[in-house]
């Protein structure tokens, strides 16, 4: 009888035999007959194991470093690059939503050419070969007719090598007309800093180490300059330092998200922010906090700004001004910043310079916790001397034959009154390099789809950096989804087709070659700082792995000098001027960047459309903020549709009763009101920029967002206001508990 044990033995042998037989059989087979076709998988794909690629966030211009989680070739999540000096692993809502730009259903998938007239908006898909020859033919015509300066190239603000390539292309083509344009370019800030401190690049505002932060209309936690870095600083200022908690005072007519976090809010009259800053400066001088030699001179300059004299104008109690000035002068270090909101008047530069004077007199310039200088960029800054105004003027005069736009949408971000659409109509041939069918692209004759930032090569020189040079690399995390191309590649292949000087001076096969070669030059130039990497290849690998190059050891210690003689002509004692008669248009209008849509570029990302606005919780739409007292007087209830009229335009928008705004002011967020921007953004809400006049600050070529007055009439209809909040009162439920500052001891 077979024992159990023997049975098992036999079974085991049989099993081995079967296995052997199988293996023998397998080894006899030729490899080609194997049933597994995926024998050698791509080396960087292991199913279920994520790859992380470090890259650059392009959702706004802060230049944060990101790492992208890629599984089986698909991007799944974006996180902040923990080693990057700007965002240190953190990311804002806009940055998190970058994935939906890559996987957006409304991306342009192939090159398109216009079928009929500009009005019809009908396009026909063509091949790249055709598209590039159409472009080259057109440029060739300009060249033959010696009209090369009639080519204009308009791009968003690019601080990296893409800008250099554009510049090289335009130079070799023979046109000086390369223009960079974005709605929030901080041109006033750059200009004011140049005048008052002689610096060409933005300094680092050291929020983290300050004891008293005075923010003049800067929504620094949300949209201004480098929100993630400012937020990190804010956290550090509040609870990061042992034994001291920095205070925040926000001075602005409409409470922004940053203002909502302030300890004190001063609802200054719109257009008098700079005057209030000078009032503070006067008190600092008068009460002897300033120790400089030139105290008498300052006393003379600032004498019209005695708090008692400006109290009425700024609508701020003079004692409050004096107390604040004392606190600010003795904060050591304190820091005053002037943001987009204060810069958006016709004389915005004056306001920023006034704030710089305040910083100088309180001795905050060049101090830790104050304004810190940044070193000159390792790459030459792209020379974009002209502004969008030049394009409009030339187009109207018929001086523009061909316009190439890249990644910027002036038809949406300029007011209707700037006549940008008419200007485009006047240009015979418009080429758009874009990922999406935005309003500007819809006006184009030839549309060349570009990669999104997660599919593309590129780089960025951070501005403002954090006190030392920072360059971030953008590398493809996934392979391109569609038949799109890198904008640099498009120009390089065009240069090849045009031949001659262009081909000779732009010999690179693709943008990546040009880009690596440029990094080689940086490496050679600054070789002494890379002691660890003796060969370029090592350096390059390190740069790609860590996401960029930064040299934390190498801080500049160059001090910033305040230039008193320059600033005098920017001190004016009259408040900013407003468009529109006060009797007819009783309300100041404030336009601000939405925390999700920014300048409107992210309105096509459904995550951000459905993100409740932090201050109102409104989703999927536009609203107008109005003080509840004013609304009560006018019989306006929340959700009522209001007709907003300025001397330049009108729009219908639902009311939101907002307690954080002056009774004589209303405000509307920018970002909605797209005509053509895909299924999520198209025909949704309204664009408040159409209430503004055209470009009126010709020296910087920008539009003042806050210099217009409006009137409001209630219409009988109900507006479409969808908000996520219920009621904003706590009713003693103790949900957000607070502790007064003086009771608080250390943790």
């Amino acid at each position: 009888m077979l024992k159990r044990r023997d049975f098992l033995k036999a079974l085991g042998l049989g099993g081995v035999g079967t296995g052997l037989g199988f293996m023998l059989g397998e080894s006899i087979k030729t490899p080609a007959t194997n049933l597994i076709p995926y024998v050698v998988p791509p080396e960087d794909i292991v199913p279920g194991v994520a790859n992380w690629y470090s890259s650059l966030c392009t959702q706004c211009n802060a230049g944060c470093g990101i790492i992208v989680r890629v599984l089986e070739g698909r991007a799944k999540k974006i996180e902040g690059n923990p080693h990057h000096p700007v965002n240190q692993g953190r990311l804002c809502a806009m940055g998190q939503a970058g994935l939906q730009a890559l996987y957006n259903p409304d991306r342009i998938k192939t090159p398109l050419i216009r079928k009929g007239s500009r009005q019809s908006e009908e396009f026909r898909a063509i091949t790249w070969e055709e598209a590039l020859s159409v472009l080259a033919e057109n440029l060739m015509k300009l060249k033959i007719a010696s009209n090369t300066e009639k080519l204009f190239l308009l791009s968003s603000v690019i601080r990296g090598h893409m800008g250099h390539l554009f510049e090289t292309f335009m130079q070799n083509f023979g046109s000086p007309n390369y223009i960079q344009y974005d709605l929030f370019q901080h041109k006033e800030l750059i200009f004011a800093n140049k005048v008052s401190m002689g610096i060409n690049i933005l300094p680092y505002y050291d929020i983290g180490n300050t004891n008293l932060l005075l923010s003049f209309g800067a929504d620094f936690l949300n949209t201004w300059l480098s929100p993630v870095n400012h937020s990190l600083g804010y956290g550090h200022m509040r609870q990061g330092r042992h034994g001291s908690r920095g205070r925040l005072v926000q001075i602005e007519p409409r409470l922004s998200l940053s203002g909502a976090n302030a300890d004190e809010w001063i609802p200054v009259r719109p257009g008098t922010e700079g005057i209030l800053a000078l009032g503070l400066a006067y008190t600092i001088i008068e009460e002897g906090y300033y120790k400089g030699q030139d105290i008498n001179e300052w006393n003379k300059i600032l004498s019209p700004y005695k708090p008692e004299m400006i109290s009425e104008l700024t609508n701020t109690d003079n004692e409050r001004i004096r107390t604040l000035a004392r606190e600010f002068a003795s904060a050591r270090p304190g820091l005053a910043i002037a943001g987009e909101n204060a810069a958006s008047y016709t004389d915005g530069v004056n306001h920023i310079i006034a704030v710089n004077i305040l910083n100088h007199l309180a001795d905050n310039i060049g101090k830790t916790g104050g304004v810190i200088s940044n070193p000159e960029a390792p790459i030459k800054k792209t020379q974009s001397l002209k502004d969008i105004d030049a394009l409009l003027r030339n187009a109207r005069a018929g001086e523009v034959e061909t316009l190439i736009t890249y990644n910027t949408n002036p038809v949406f971000t300029l007011p209707h009154n700037s006549k940008i659409q008419e200007a485009l109509e006047n240009i015979p041939f418009v080429v758009s390099l874009s990922c999406f069918m935005d309003e500007t692209t819809a006006h184009a004759d030839l549309i060349l789809p570009t990669h999104t930032s997660l599919e593309d090569w590129g780089d960025d020189i951070t501005e403002p950096a954090t006190g030392y040079n920072t360059a971030t690399i953008m590398q493809p995390a996934v392979s391109p989804l569609y038949d799109s191309r890198n904008a640099g590649d498009i120009l390089l292949s065009t240069a090849k087709r045009l031949g001659n000087r262009l081909q000779k001076n732009m010999p690179w096969d693709n943008f990546r070659d040009f880009f690596i070669e440029s990094w080689k030059t940086i490496y050679e130039k600054q070789r002494h700082t890379y002691a660890g990497e003796p060969v370029f290849e090592d350096f390059w690998n390190k740069v790609l792995t860590q996401g960029g190059w930064w040299d934390q050891e190498k801080r500049t210690h160059q001090s910033i000098h305040f230039i008193k003689d320059n600033v005098k002509r920017f001190i004016s004692s009259s408040p900013s001027l407003f468009q529109g008669n006060e009797d007819e248009f009783p309300f100041y209008l404030i336009l601000y960047a939405h925390s999700g849509y920014y300048d409107g570029r992210h309105a096509n990302l459904p995550w951000l459309q459905e993100m409740p606005d932090p201050m109102t919780s409104v989703v999927w739409g536009t609203w107008i903020e109005i003080n509840p007292q004013t609304a009560g007087k006018m019989g306006i209830r929340e959700g009522d549709l209001l007709l907003v009229e300025s001397p330049y335009g009108k729009l219908h928008v639902p009311a939101y009763l907002y307690p954080g705004i002056r009774p004589d002011t209303v405000s509307i967020p920018i970002g909605q009101g797209h005509k053509t921007y895909g299924r999520y953004a198209g025909n949704r809400g309204s664009n408040p920029l159409d209430l503004l006049p055209g470009i009126s600050r010709h020296e910087t070529g920008t539009i003042p967002l806050n210099s217009t007055r409006v009137k409001i009439t209630k219409s009988s209809e109900k507006g479409n206001l969808v908000k996520m909040e219920g009621i904003t009162k706590e009713f003693d439920r103790q949900i957000v508990q607070t502790i007064p500052p003086y009771e608080r001891r250390q943790n």
């Binding site: 599984l71 698909r74 799944k76 999540k77 996180e79 953190r90 990311l91 804002c92 809502a93 998190q96 939503a97 994935l99 939906q100 996987y103 259903p105 936690l221 937020s231 990190l232 804010y234 956290g235 550090h236 509040r238 609870q239 990061g240 908690r245 409470l255 998200l257 940053s258 909502a260 976090n261 300890d263 809010w265 609802p267 925390s595 459904p606 995550w607 409740p612 932090p614 201050m615 989703v619 999927w620 003080n627 509840p628 007292q629 954080g660 002056r662 299924r679 969808v722 996520m724 909040e725 904003t728 009162k729 949900i735 957000v736 508990q737 607070t738 007064p740 500052p741 608080r744 943790n747």
Partner: protein, 256 residues
């Protein structure tokens, strides 16, 4: 009889003992410093990206059916010009004594070995009991099977289930990340160390207001922060024993 009942319920009473969950290996906790939180909503979008939360559209939003596992609540005190705004992120509090668990007829929501309050989607039949019992209003119901417009579905996180119509869902403290972190530590033959695991919201928080960790570990950062005199928990008087600890916002009291 009563002795018999005591014996019978002994194993249930064990849950009532204070510190019961302290016997587990981990007691995951999020500490949120309200003095740092600025209400920017980065956590909300990070959560959407990590946890495959659907976009429901304008009309569904107006019916209050939007999915936000973490949301920022904003409370306004006072009238112009003395307006004070306070923000608080509210997510599932992962209660030690969770109301929702008591009510569920199908045991779809139960306590796991880490002290987390988890939801088994396959068991859920959508009775809404848990959402009704929850004092924090953090549970969200799938009224429809929401679709992603191609190719948006390529972004979906393969580590997280995509929920269908009829299922209740809520914040999981990013349980997929906790599991991955534990597995990773196990592969390296060690315990999970502080900072190994970060839920998506904590990871992205620009001000560093949120901290995640194990409250059982006395050395962890959350244990240190939880000793703060600013510590409080939301609706603590309801005796839900929440795992989310808030640190009070430092601000001047309003004039009454």
């Amino acid at each position: 009889m009563s002795r018999f009942l005591d014996k019978l319920f002994a194993r249930f009473n064990i849950y009532r003992e204070p510190g019961y969950y302290g016997k587990y290996d981990y007691k995951w906790t999020i500490v949120i410093d309200l003095d740092k939180c600025d209400g920017c909503e980065a956590c909300v979008i990070a959560c959407h990206a990590e946890n495959n939360l659907p976009i429901v559209g304008e009309e569904e939003c107006s019916k209050n059916r939007a999915f936000n596992w973490i949301r920022i609540e904003r409370y306004v005190e006072g009238e112009y010009p003395d307006v004070r705004v306070k923000f608080i992120p509210i997510l599932c509090q992962q209660c030690g004594k969770a109301r929702c668990e008591v009510g569920c007829p199908t045991y779809a929501t139960y306590h796991n070995q880490d002290g987390l309050n988890v939801q088994v989607y396959n068991r859920c039949i959508g009775t809404f009991t848990c959402a009704t019992y929850c004092p924090y209003d953090v549970r969200h119901f799938n009224w429809f099977s929401y679709k992603w417009e191609a190719p948006l579905e390529q972004q979906l996180n393969p580590d997280v289930t995509v929920r269908e119509k009829g299922v209740m869902e809520k914040c999981t403290f990013c349980i997929q990340r906790i599991r991955a972190g534990k597995d990773h530590a196990k592969d390296e033959g060690r315990e999970v160390t502080d900072g190994d695991i970060q839920p998506a919201c904590v990871q992205t928080c620009p001000t560093g207001a949120m901290t995640f960790g194990d409250l059982n570990d006395p050395e962890s950062r959350v244990s240190q922060l939880a000793k703060s005199e600013r510590r409080y928990r939301l609706f603590e008087d309801l005796n839900t024993d929440p795992s989310v600890i808030y640190l009070k916002r430092v601000m001047k009291q309003t004039k009454q």
